[in-house]
Symmetry: C2
Subunit: 348 residues, 2 copies
């Protein structure tokens, strides 16, 4: 398998990207890596060219660039060239730590949507602290600012495939992020989505979930519209970091006994932080496009990049995208009838 | 001043409600309390009837009751009778620890909206850990499942009044919860709301805020639509509790040194928990109705009930509702022109 790497995206690119790819090359036997990047910056960083190829590009999409414009105009950027390689079948998957919006645009407009998927979504594995499994799939995390009920229905399918194929969870429990447990809760979009999902033959729907329970492990796939999914994700991240910071500060403030306690507790803190660490879990995935496209945090370092290669390898090994494609093309009627129910209800 | 108390609402009603009211009666000199509740349950609980009156009611709205139906049908319930007392001028404010939806319905349909406020909202003071102030106002927390841009604009006004009058913050910094910092972020509702708020002469708008920064103290008023505000609030609460739990568990798991550390750290944990504790901060307020209406957590005990009476006293002492009423009636034109801008944009 071949992975196209945007070597220029991310806060520590290209150095940490290249280091991460070399770690991954040594760890995984059957992957070839294509580094797309500025020749004089990337070339000196590679120690061993075994299964690593450099494709020289002349432009870079910056973090602050307007995504669609950048994708359209910077045709010789590392990201666009890497995406084009996937489109043209020269690579099987795309990786970047760069501009998320531009990567979404490249995935959707260059690599293309899977036929039958209306709105690809950003999905990530998040930690489950209490449940049967260590992780759950959370999507859409912000690829879309607005979603229709039929999109949320499709996310139930896409998320279930990711949970089975990548997290190894059988019959994943799907829930809809809503502002109450009862099925009549939420705005029109969520009420109708609940009805569509409730009757789905495609996945195991267990009803609504409130954001308070996100980390409790009561769902394997949490489906959200992109706007509130994004808000819930960021509130979770912000609160987790703030709690760790506050407890550390309270330890420092509490004098000698507390400081001693703090030293004793370092391993406990590390354990919790590790569970929360995105670098351990890999990157966010754009689901619903014709190839695995994965984005790590802009601040990702080599270890995170290498772990993300493992995640991409799992997606390719387990045929995630072809299985989604086959399923959806075999169930066009189901997806269509869902839309018809929806349209009938919206016109009431 | 007179406060109408729903003595039957909440997990520990009427016992903890009555205990809390007696604490508040001893703490605050000029308040008279009207207890609405089942006579044979409430009467035996009161030790001292000074400034406490019992108004016997025969029905109770349960936590699981359908809100609007319960409010309409249970006309002799403690909650509805207390709301009617406020409506008829026999009391100045309404308190309940009961069914939130029914309290919202009672506030909006019985006590009534302030003229010019389209959609009252649920607001709460939340902890700011890093900023100039200890707390900020967060609204709408779920009174509405859907909001228009003009509602969000009005929340900027309502939230600013709450911040000045109750939290004592001058020129409060208002931000809009959105999925990015730039003004073109979000769905249509948030894009238009941003434009309306940006040009507001009524409050000090500092742009968008992402949910990641909620607790960082960069805003004194965070305005959200009810759906994503609810999601962000619950994600914050759930994550904070989960982090405390995980760190405690990690301490226990880490053996003797860790256990010792845990004992040393108890005061530090308590300090953080106290900051997060809703019982300290008082209840959630329904802003935009003609009297102070305050809801504490269903699990509130006497101390929380007493603190909430202090919060209501501050709202009454500082003329929160009359000042909002006067401001809005003097600025009808501004609110109207905001709506016109909005309509023009939505019709584009």
């Amino acid at each position: 398998m071949k992975i196209a790497i945007d070597a220029m995206g991310g806060d520590y690119a290209p150095l940490e990207i290249v280091k991460g790819i070399e770690i991954a090359r040594d760890r995984y036997q059957n992957i070839e890596f294509q580094l797309y990047g500025t020749e004089n910056e990337v070339k000196p960083l590679v120690n061993n060219w075994d299964r690593i190829e450099l494709i020289a590009t002349t432009e870079v999409i910056a973090m602050g660039d307007e995504p669609v414009k950048a994708m359209r105009r910077k045709k010789d950027s590392s990201m666009v060239r890497a995406a084009m390689a996937v489109k043209e079948g020269q690579a099987d998957a795309l990786f970047s730590a760069g501009n998320t919006g531009a990567l979404l645009s490249s995935a959707i407009f260059l690599i293309g949507r899977i036929k039958g998927v209306d709105r690809p979504a950003l999905a990530s594995a998040m930690p489950s602290f209490d449940g049967q499994h260590d992780q759950f799939v959370f999507m859409d995390l912000g690829a879309n600012a607005e979603n229709k009920p039929s999109h949320l229905y499709q996310y139930g399918i896409l998320g279930s495939f990711y949970a089975t194929h990548v997290l190894g969870i059988t019959a994943p429990r799907v829930r809809l992020l809503n502002n109450g447990a009862e099925e009549d809760k939420g705005d029109e979009v969520h009420k109708i989505a609940h009805q569509l999902m409730k009757n789905s033959p495609s996945f195991n729907f267990l009803g609504n979930i409130e954001a308070r329970e996100l980390l409790e492990g009561t769902a394997d796939v949490v489906v959200a519209d992109g706007f509130s999914g994004n808000a819930a994700l960021k509130a979770t991240e912000g609160t987790a970091l703030m709690m760790l910071k506050q407890i550390k500060q309270a330890i420092l403030d509490s004098g000698v006994g507390g400081k001693l306690g703090g030293a004793l507790l370092k391993p406990a803190f590390k354990q919790v932080q590790k569970k929360l660490d995105y670098n351990e879990a890999g990157g966010a995935v754009i689901l619903g496009v014709k190839a695995p496209v994965v984005k790590t945090h802009g601040s990702a370092k080599a270890a995170a990049v290498a772990n993300t290669m493992g995640q991409i390898k799992t997606m390719l090994d387990n045929q995630l995208v072809p299985d989604i494609q086959n399923y959806i093309s075999a169930h066009t009627e189901e997806l269509q009838s869902g839309k018809q129910v929806l349209n009938a209800q919206l016109n009431d």
